[in-house]
């Protein structure tokens, strides 16, 4: 009789161990879940300095001790999908805090929660209305001609439109995970949007419900986002810090305002269906968005594994604009990993601060062009950088941590989460 190759006794032993561990975890988890938890998002203090309809402008006070303070303020334009709180999700992983510590005078648009009365608000109302009024407000407040603008996802698309229509008001443009070329089948969203009956959708819902969009996003990867994520939670729910961070992420993901119907209609028709923006054929209230008029320096970030806005949808803009000073930065992460993963935050915020600083002084010379690629002959200052998952060297990292400590006067820097528990959050942020 041949001996079986299956180590049944080992499997059973492992199963018994797992059961015991699960029981202990469940006991501890009940203590954690019933104890007072702190999962507030957007805890960095700010002032509301401008309001118009549902739209608010947040102004963050930067650290006065920060070295190399930037003269030109930066306006962050978030997408209409989900909320800008993502940039300040948890105290030890906050793009907002990093910007402030790097000396950036930061403004951020809070689009609020559109209601039924906002269903006729168009892209033009957002770009040439709210954004323009906000830019004028900042210019007037600081007595400056131009402002730096940074757009995130759909907010990046709005920023591109704005910069092309008002190049006289924008000093530097930063786009992050921004869809600008929609003619690709790489992202499922692009495939699904092409055949959607947008008129019927708007007729039915008025505004596009945030919950409907969230369901759509979950369906992009149900195995990870609807099963694995919660299995991970079950495995770590005895860890208070993990639970707090997990709930923060959940709060952000499902805090989805509705998208104004007419804005969504034009975004789908002119973007996903007809791909007009990248061809400079898009019109806002009769004005053509000519990308050749976008002449200010441009820094473009995107995620290599972004399944919502794939690289193919982001990497064409730098060669389509009129600017001679452009740079593409491809990070090996997903759609929101750029902002919430501690690994990429260490690369993302300092890169922006450095880039802006290099262009903050008018008298400063424009950085020297890098070595040209064969395909980039037409744009002498165009750079394409891929930043991989390898973290910066220890020396650089220490320097940055020193800067963070120096800049944060109010609260001491929080202890970084342990490797095991940060891994799952890392995974989640990269999946999304």
């Amino acid at each position: 009789m041949t001996q079986t190759k299956i180590p049944i006794e080992l499997i059973l032993e492992s199963l018994a161990e797992d059961t015991e561990k699960a029981q202990k975890r469940a006991e501890k988890a009940s203590d954690v879940l019933l104890s007072p938890l702190h999962y507030d998002v957007a805890s960095t203090p700010y002032d509301i300095v401008y309001e118009e309809d549902r739209v608010k402008l947040k102004h963050y006070s930067r650290s006065e001790t920060a070295e190399n303070k930037l003269k030109t303020p930066l306006l962050v334009v978030y997408a209409l999908i989900n909320r800008e709180t993502m940039l300040d999700l948890q105290p030890d992983r906050s793009v907002v805090k990093n910007f402030l510590q790097d000396g950036i005078d930061l403004y951020m648009i809070d689009w609020g929660y559109p209601t039924r009365k906002d269903r006729f608000v168009t892209i033009d109302d957002h770009v040439n209305g709210y954004i323009d009024n906000i830019i004028d407000f900042i210019r007037e407040k600081h007595q400056i001609q131009k402002v730096n603008i940074m757009g995130i996802c759909m907010g990046g698309t709005f920023s591109i439109m704005y910069s092309a229509l008002h190049p006289d008001k924008i000093k530097n443009l930063i786009t992050t995970v921004t869809p600008s070329s929609f003619d690709t089948d790489k992202g499922l969203l692009h495939v699904w949007m092409k055949d959607i009956d947008i008129d019927k959708m708007i007729q039915t819902y008025g505004n596009i419900p945030g919950d409907l969009m969230n369901l759509g996003f979950l369906l992009l990867n149900p195995a990870r986002l609807m099963i694995d994520k919660y299995v991970g939670f079950m495995e770590n729910m005895d860890n208070k810090e993990f639970v707090e961070n997990f709930v923060r992420m959940e709060r952000w993901i499902f805090d989805s305002p509705d998208v104004p119907g007419e804005t969504f209609r034009q975004f789908v028709e002119d973007g996903y269906k007809n791909n007009l923006l990248i061809q400079s054929k898009m019109y806002l209230d009769g004005k053509r968005v000519d990308l050749k008029k976008l002449t200010m320096p441009m820094l473009n970030f995107y995620g290599k594994y972004d399944h919502l806005v794939p690289p193919e949808s982001c990497d064409q803009i730098t060669s389509a604009v009129g600017s001679k000073d452009t740079e593409d930065v491809c990070l090996e992460t997903g759609h929101i990993g750029i902002y919430v993963s501690s690994k990429f935050q260490k690369q993302f915020s300092p890169k922006i601060a450095e880039w802006l600083k290099a262009r903050d002084q008018d008298e400063l010379p424009v950085p020297m062009p890098p070595k040209k690629k064969a395909s980039e002959k037409t744009n002498p200052l165009h750079k394409r950088v891929t930043i991989n998952k390898k973290p910066p060297t220890r020396k650089t990292q220490t320097k940055k941590l020193d800067q963070l400590t120096k800049g944060n006067n109010t609260k001491p820097p929080q202890k970084p989460p342990s490797k095991g528990k940060s891994l799952l959050m890392q995974k989640i942020s990269e999946i999304i």
């Binding site: 190759k5 299956i6 180590p7 080992l10 499997i11 492992s14 199963l15 797992d18 039924r116 009365k117 269903r119 006729f120 608000v121 109302d125 209305g129 499922l188 495939v191 699904w192 055949d195 959607i196 009956d197 019927k200 959708m201 007729q203 039915t204 819902y205 008025g206 369906l219 992009l220 990867n221 149900p222 195995a223 990870r224 099963i227 694995d228 299995v231």
Partner: protein, 312 residues
């Protein structure tokens, strides 16, 4: 013979009783109608006219009943009534038969429909593709049952009925499509278990079976993710997704239209009415903002020109 005796001869006691009751009733209702005081002002003349019309109609009806009662008492009529009573069961039988036949036909029709349902389902092969069940069920609904919701309604409430029927119809279609979509969405789950089982089998044969449950789970979730990715890229899935969205929107639109009917009965504005208002509001707001901007620019220019102008 006394007059009373003559009357008794002419009218048998039951008939007398009926005539007396008729006369008493006429007097009662006529007097009641007359008790209404005459109206001095012209505004109430219409009311009097209406009373007179009522009295006139009342008298006519009573006279008609009297003559009918008398006519029934005459010998020819008596025989005729007797004949009618003989015929009555036959008429009732005929009416019942007709009703029964109609009922039977409807039942027969329904049975035929059910029979067809059976025939239709037989035409599909369910051995391999479970989703065909949902397609078949949608088809059965569309071909055999949907027509009942499309029977044209009549009368004053026809539009309300039509909208209600449409709501039920759209709801059924949405339910069918959703069931089909969910079945498609469940396919990777089903397949992932099968693949996992096969993988484990081959690993068991090779003696490389993972020891921990976590490893089994990691293996399964990876397989599941792969299957979902394949499914989502398929045209079938995209079609099913769009179809479900479309049917859901049809249902929601039908629901909104029906709700609109109900809301109109209440002092609550409907979405349609509010949307019209919002649109006007939006356009006005845009114009006001534009004018505000223009005024701001003009006042700045004015200030500038005043400052640059020589003093005095």
């Amino acid at each position: 013979m006394t007059e009373a005796a003559t009357d008794a001869e002419k009218n048998p006691p039951n008939e007398l009783l009926f005539i007396n009751w008729l006369e008493a009733a006429t007097d009662l209702w006529s007097n009641l109608a007359k008790t209404a005081a005459p109206n001095p002002d012209g505004s109430k003349q219409t009311k009097n006219a209406a009373q007179n019309r009522f009295l006139g109609q009342w008298k006519t009806n009573l006279s008609l009943m009297k003559s009918f009662s008398q006519a029934m008492n005459e010998s020819e009529s008596e025989s005729s009534t007797a004949q009618a009573i003989d015929v009555l069961p036959k008429i009732i039988l005929r009416m019942s038969k007709s009703g029964w036949d109609t009922g039977f036909q409807i039942q027969k029709h329904l049975l035929e429909k059910i029979g067809k349902i059976g025939k239709r389902t037989e035409a599909y092969n369910f051995d391999n593709l479970d989703e065909e069940v949902f397609k078949a069920s949608t088809e059965i609904y569309e071909k055999e049952l949907q027509q009942y919701f499309h029977v044209p309604p009549l009368g004053l409430n026809r539009y309300y009925q039509e909208r209600l029927s449409s709501l039920l119809d759209k709801h059924n279609l949405f339910e069918n499509t959703l069931a089909e979509f969910l079945s498609v969405l469940y396919l990777p789950m089903e397949k992932s278990f099968k693949v996992l089982q096969e993988n484990l089998q081959s690993m068991a044969n090779e003696g490389t079976l993972p020891k921990g449950t976590k490893d089994h789970y990691a293996m399964w979730i990876k397989i599941l993710e792969g299957h979902y990715m394949n499914l989502f890229k398929s045209k079938e899935y995209t079609d099913a997704l769009h179809k479900t969205l479309s049917k859901m929107e049809d249902f929601l639109l039908a629901k909104n239209e029906t709700l609109h009917d109900f809301l109109q009965l209440l002092p609550i504005p409907t979405n349609k009415e509010m949307d019209e208002l919002y649109k006007e509001f939006h356009v006005l707001k845009k114009r006001v903002k534009e004018l505000e901007k223009q005024i701001k620019v003009m006042s700045k220019a004015n200030k500038g020109s005043q400052q640059s102008a020589p003093a005095g």
